[in-house]
């Protein structure tokens, strides 16, 4: 499939959105994320990776992919609601987080005003005493341009680690 690159103006607009979103998520401004970034029809997914042989042909019988995140707007709101209870002890004191977004590519799609956006996120967390945690994911997004500006419609993420190396994933990427 050949993808047609979006116009520079669209590219810059969407990159601005990605950076703005990253700053929002690092600062845990989750209500703004829900209301300003996400479409009400958001589909947000990350699967657990597996190590398989390249030549392994047993994929048909292999178990279905297992999601780490498999969320719609309602369930993301539940996750955000948990942080807002003030009872998530692991997040108090607040952990320092940085979302670094790079490798941004923007393409047109068959749907008018919908764009496919590839990016890579390197996520750093500084936790507890001397703990530095790092996650890297590839993201495949679908953004839609509506009268309210650009909104995120779909985000499919690939986590690189086959074993999660942090005691929680109390964050969004």
């Amino acid at each position: 499939m050949t993808l047609k690159a979006a116009k520079d103006e669209v590219y810059l607009d969407l990159q601005r959105h990605l950076f703005k979103e990253a700053r929002m998520l690092s600062a845990e401004r989750y209500d703004e994320w829900l209301s300003e970034i996400l479409s009400d029809d958001i589909y947000y997914r990350m699967d657990m990776p597996q190590r398989r042989f390249r030549e392994d042909k047993s994929a048909v019988r292999a178990p279905a992919k297992t999601p780490i995140f498999n969320d719609d707007f309602a369930s993301l709101k539940v996750r955000v609601g948990r942080y807002k209870t003030g009872f998530v002890w692991a997040e108090n004191p607040m952990n320092a987080s940085r979302h670094m977004v790079s490798n941004v590519e923007v393409f047109e799609t068959d749907e008018q005003d919908q764009f496919k956006v590839y990016s890579v996120v390197e996520f750093h967390r500084s936790r507890l005493n001397s703990e530095r945690k790092r996650f890297t994911v590839g993201r495949e997004d679908r953004w839609v341009k509506s009268e309210n500006g650009y909104q995120l419609l779909e985000r499919l993420m690939t986590l690189d680690d086959s074993v999660v190396l942090d005691s929680n994933m109390n964050f969004f990427l």
């Binding site: 657990m48 392994d56 178990p63 005691s167 929680n168």
Partner: protein, 448 residues
């Protein structure tokens, strides 16, 4: 080595913190507990066809579990018998041979060494290949779909090892004629925690639910689990039981027949399933298990490191990686007869509650990590901690095996887990390890 009796006191519910941090004690655990117990390897459903394999651990030893041509099962150490390299690097898959990346020795999936490069030119055909097959575990056996193995040829049979715990395990494993399956792949998380702290938590600690998980419970609890409340403000201990005294295995169970699905946001689909199949469960399991336990929130612990929770439907094994670290692998588990929609809902709910980004699981890691670290100091390692809640409530109940205390909020089960730990740590061989499945036997075998 410390005096073992100084580490655990069953009578007062005391543990010395050293057991969570000391390297020498950990090495002893690998030998005396993980080297001798029946350890969970895989579910039968994960190894359907000949050549299907799973790479897992027994203690810190890597093993490959492989379905054989005759449909039997074998488990091998995942290591080349030549120079010790790892044989298989994939998590699971299907293969008729395992070829070492180092010098190219190749082993059939039945374990035989079949190919040695330069066998004639370099070994002058003097290598007896029959003596260099993959090394098998001492015993392998299944109980109603769950495959276990032990490194100890003198270990009792799996049936005897599980003892009367089987009566409780059947609430999940044998309620439906088609049995159970694990769906999805393992969700793996590495935690800087001593393995025992995770096991004791799930074995009996209903106390932490309303507090440690207050945030998650506030936003997910659609119904009640044995009266547990957010913030630990109240509890109804009459409607649930803690069961232990079965060779170290434990059960924590609500008795309402439906609370297992309390943390699902579409629990009606699950409750409909329970209604539609209740008669079958009662027919197969009888009134107590079929009516009161099937569908309830239940925590099962098979000593030392397998835990699964019907209702919340997660299934978990802990692989220790040193005194201060383990990997935990979690799957979603379902009845085979459930609809695809219900299975998918369960898989999603397991991810949302107890996966790597699960709202409940994400509350536990830091607490258990800190308890591990606070057992590592020169002073803290000498300190004691206690599981001394609800001492003296232990009793027998007609028609139910094990030692029973009321309630999910009760520390009886943890005391029995640590008792088993000490019994195994002290014993030179299996003949020195006591067996008990009820209050009378548990008292008769108690170390005086």
């Amino acid at each position: 080595m410390e005096n073992l009796d100084d580490l655990i006191d069953f009578k007062t519910g005391r543990q010395k913190r050293l057991i969570y941090s000391d390297a020498e004690i950990y090495d002893q655990e690998m030998e005396k507990i993980f080297g001798r117990s029946w350890l969970f390897l895989a579910h039968e459903c994960q190894l359907e066809k000949p050549g299907d394999f799973i790479r897992t651990y027994m203690g810190e030893d890597e093993v490959l579990v492989v379905r054989q041509k005759d449909n039997g099962l074998k488990a091998f150490l995942n290591t080349c018998t030549h120079r010790g390299n790892r044989l298989c690097k994939a998590d699971h898959g299907n293969s008729k041979s395992f070829v070492c990346n180092y010098h190219g020795w190749s082993f059939s999936y039945n374990g035989e060494l079949t190919g040695v490069p330069l066998e004639e030119a370099a070994y002058q055909n003097n290598l007896d290949k029959s003596k260099f097959g993959m090394i098998e575990v001492a015993q392998i056996a299944s109980y109603k779909g769950l495959i276990f193995a032990t490194f100890d040829e003198k270990a009792p049979s799996l049936e005897e090892y599980l003892g009367d715990m089987k009566w409780y395990l059947d609430v999940w494993l044998d309620a439906m004629p088609e049995g159970t399956e694990l769906i999805g792949t393992a969700m793996k998380v590495e935690l800087p925690v001593n393995w025992k702290l995770a096991v004791e938590n799930v074995s009996g600690d209903g106390y932490h639910l309303g507090w440690a998980h207050a945030g998650a419970m506030t936003v997910t609890a659609e119904s009640d689990i044995a009266g547990l409340s957010v913030g630990n403000s109240d509890v109804d201990n009459e409607s649930a039981i803690s069961v232990a005294g079965m060779n170290g295995h434990t059960v924590l169970a609500a008795l309402d027949g439906k609370s297992g699905y309390a943390f699902y946001n579409e629990y009606q689909m699950a409750w409909d399933y329970l209604d539609q199949n209740r008669a079958t469960a009662v027919e197969r399991l009888g009134e107590i298990r079929g009516e009161k336990m099937w569908g309830s929130q239940i925590n099962f612990t098979v000593f030392p490191n397998l835990q699964f929770l019907p209702g919340l439907n997660w299934f978990r094994i802990y692989h220790p990686k040193g005194p201060g670290k383990f990997e935990m692998w979690t799957w979603a588990m379902v009845d085979k007869r459930m609809s695809d929609d219900l299975k998918e809902m369960i898989l999603n709910n397991v991810s949302r509650t107890f996966g790597p980004a699960g709202m409940f699981d994400n509350d536990d890691g830091d607490n258990l990590q800190a308890a591990t670290e606070q057992s590592r100091g020169w002073r803290t390692s000498q300190m004691d901690i206690y599981t001394n809640m609800a001492m003296g409530n232990e009793h027998s109940r007609e028609g139910m095996p094990g030692v029973i205390s009321e309630g999910l909020v009760c520390e009886q089960n943890q005391r029995y887990v640590y008792r088993r730990w000490l019994e195994m740590m002290k014993a030179d061989s299996w003949s020195d390890i006591p067996f008990y499945n009820n209050l009378e036997e548990a008292r008769a075998t108690e170390d005086k």
